[in-house]
Symmetry: D2
Subunit: 258 residues, 4 copies
Amino acid sequence: MKKRIADGDNALLYLNPRRTYLVRIESGKSLHTHKGFVPYDSIIGKEYGTRTTSNLGVEFVALRPSLKDFIFKTQRRTQILYPKDIALIVMFSGIGPGSKVVEAGTGAGALTTALAHYVKPTGRVYSYEIREEFIKTALKNLEKASIARLVEVKNEDIMRGIAETNVDAVILDLATPWLVVPHAYSALRGSGAIVSFSPTIDQIVKTVEALRESGFVDIETIETLLRGMQVERGKTRPETLMTGHTGYITFARKSLRE
Amino acid sequence: MKKRIADGDNALLYLNPRRTYLVRIESGKSLHTHKGFVPYDSIIGKEYGTRTTSNLGVEFVALRPSLKDFIFKTQRRTQILYPKDIALIVMFSGIGPGSKVVEAGTGAGALTTALAHYVKPTGRVYSYEIREEFIKTALKNLEKASIARLVEVKNEDIMRGIAETNVDAVILDLATPWLVVPHAYSALRGSGAIVSFSPTIDQIVKTVEALRESGFVDIETIETLLRGMQVERGKTRPETLMTGHTGYITFARKSLRE
Amino acid sequence: MKKRIADGDNALLYLNPRRTYLVRIESGKSLHTHKGFVPYDSIIGKEYGTRTTSNLGVEFVALRPSLKDFIFKTQRRTQILYPKDIALIVMFSGIGPGSKVVEAGTGAGALTTALAHYVKPTGRVYSYEIREEFIKTALKNLEKASIARLVEVKNEDIMRGIAETNVDAVILDLATPWLVVPHAYSALRGSGAIVSFSPTIDQIVKTVEALRESGFVDIETIETLLRGMQVERGKTRPETLMTGHTGYITFARKSLRE
Amino acid sequence: MKKRIADGDNALLYLNPRRTYLVRIESGKSLHTHKGFVPYDSIIGKEYGTRTTSNLGVEFVALRPSLKDFIFKTQRRTQILYPKDIALIVMFSGIGPGSKVVEAGTGAGALTTALAHYVKPTGRVYSYEIREEFIKTALKNLEKASIARLVEVKNEDIMRGIAETNVDAVILDLATPWLVVPHAYSALRGSGAIVSFSPTIDQIVKTVEALRESGFVDIETIETLLRGMQVERGKTRPETLMTGHTGYITFARKSLRE
């Protein structure tokens, strides 16, 4: 993996845990912040991890952006799929390098980015999205994360069917996942996984019922709570603010009908 | 990906959510359960996902084992690293296909299995373990998951140093992670990640202090709670039993000293 | 409050946090445990809080039973109303010394005991229970907690109506609370509180709808999670075992129809 | 209990779950809100629970303030003792009508209000507070809740000792509770309860150690998480916003030294 920062690369300029800047390094330009500006020439040619200072003398660290950074920076306020949920969706879907994955909807591409990251170098993600206005944003975010070549964003309605077959996993983050369950069954290879993310109880009841009727097994629904800790000798405690709910995750695997 | 079950393959024989059997298929042999025996010849040559019945007429589904299955079946009662934690450790470490990872300790190889799965096909995991009795078990579990070729299990004490350099991530699941922090700093490439899993508050305080002193940034400690849902129309509710604590996860990234 | 333990009094013999014995002290008799027997005469005439030893030399502390002890000892395996829930039910119901409270069902009397404790000395609890087999147990438990005189246990079906009027609070722990909502409205004084405890989502949806239709305001549904801590210098951590769900608590207050 | 609203009474004017106004009713005056003004004369002489409308035609309900309302309205931004914690503190302390309780510090009187409510009509609360600026506020809040006669607010430092003896419970919400443990031991009757609320791990470790050294038994530390539910048919789900941490509650009971 390349160690030195070059003109045109991405970098995460880290000021503190609450203030990070995901930028494209361009020679002759600068990042402008409330703590002064940071000329990109001061980090070009340096190793990732290098420290630099703004014109006001404040220190920044130029980190290499990781998957987590691309996901967080992709998130929009209206989205509720957090890295904690993405991590579990990826693991429970069973995907990995080389997997063939169908996803809907694309949204701003946060989950798409994670799926593409993990199916590298030979896998492929087919991402369905009916809302045209999202597709441009998603493509831009996938470009930025350098994984656009692994993804086919399709401006099609997954409720009408899935064109792909012999798929390893179908990942759903949409309002009526239960309507997609029969299509997912057709698209999946035997033993393939379906994973659905939904904020309401009604959605999970309908989805689990559809899964049971369609020949899926190993059906499970969970939710996770993530709590940050303030760690300081003599004052350690959980953080006061916490997200109480993002959504429920439902998993299942396809069994073949007789 | 191969679709048909052959002699010598692994399969997960699924009876119900609480009863699954991770087996190696051998022609002429059978799985013996309290619900009767299942002759492997009845599934050899079939697609993964196929249904079969025991001699007592009870149905089993022959699933292809996924990462989650290998992890769950690797777990020992004394271990407390759950798939929910493994999923977050993997995502926050930023690793992916091609990554170079150092891990300690190996234990029975649950986390090692996940790390190796995600660095396929060209990455590598160096796993330190001082307890010889664990190494044999770990190697057997890695063989079973068909990822042993990606892992080098080292019967060495990581407290004495890390031989590898330019490492993408160091993952720690041991009693005194803070003692490894300086070695991790030396082993990591600039901007590389360290992730530590610990059950007690004292461990996270000492580890976070060591990280701050050693030049790491973006330090964060979290815990997650996972709760299952019983989903049934008119009776949906969270499950009564829940694991209240597995451990805290601490993340950080290496900044270069001036 | 009486400080000395007399023949006929209750005492909680405390061995360790997991082993406590709620007993009636009788001169000439003993408590028999796996740690030996404790003759009651060794504590009669002593202050509550006194230590004594069994014939095997193991120390017990003779505590005065508190409300919490009566509740815990009343609980049956099939019940899911925990002290954490009882505490919130009591507080959110707004009851206190002198309140007039209707409850259903009585069950083994755990919640009844708490309600009676807090309405002392001049309040009253009317507790409906259709299952005769529970009533005897409940009365015995109320006797033991010395609060039976404050409670009227009624072997009647609350679904058919509530005889009491001008009630301060109606507390429901039964399978179909929404069917009682109109009766509760009639029984309550203006601004009086209704509190319902239910384990499933379906129950809370139906109950909240009934409350909205019946003229209740300030409707709120919550759940609580309680986690124990293992506190020991250098090893402090949350406990591994935890109850993931007991039930949801719904509160509301009566507004008068025009 | 008085049912009609009179000049000089308190009322909680309820607009919606997020907007309630705790006011003193005065003939000839009005409540001014962003939804118009509500003349108090429109509710004087009516039953609690009555509906009225502002000059802009918006409906308000005139509820009788309950303990919960007094606590919520007493809370200041800097305080972290929530009704959920107050409910558990009250229940685990074992107090009830007639109890003699010592508390420190008073703060704005939220917990004091609850303690006084439950020891009515013959109990007494002794509340220590060294910060003079809080005492005036606390007294005002106790007056408003009509329980000031049950409380003695003492502008004294509880670290120097507790003057009261034969106390049923000592309740601590201060920065260094472990320093008060020996004084609490002296003040409590045999078998009496101590309850301490603290936000940090360090505080609970020191407090539990002090309790063990001072002759307390039945020592337990817990935390609770409260999550609200959005209840609506077809859309029911947990609320997104949640408080992740208020504090830990530690309980214990006094055993007598030999």
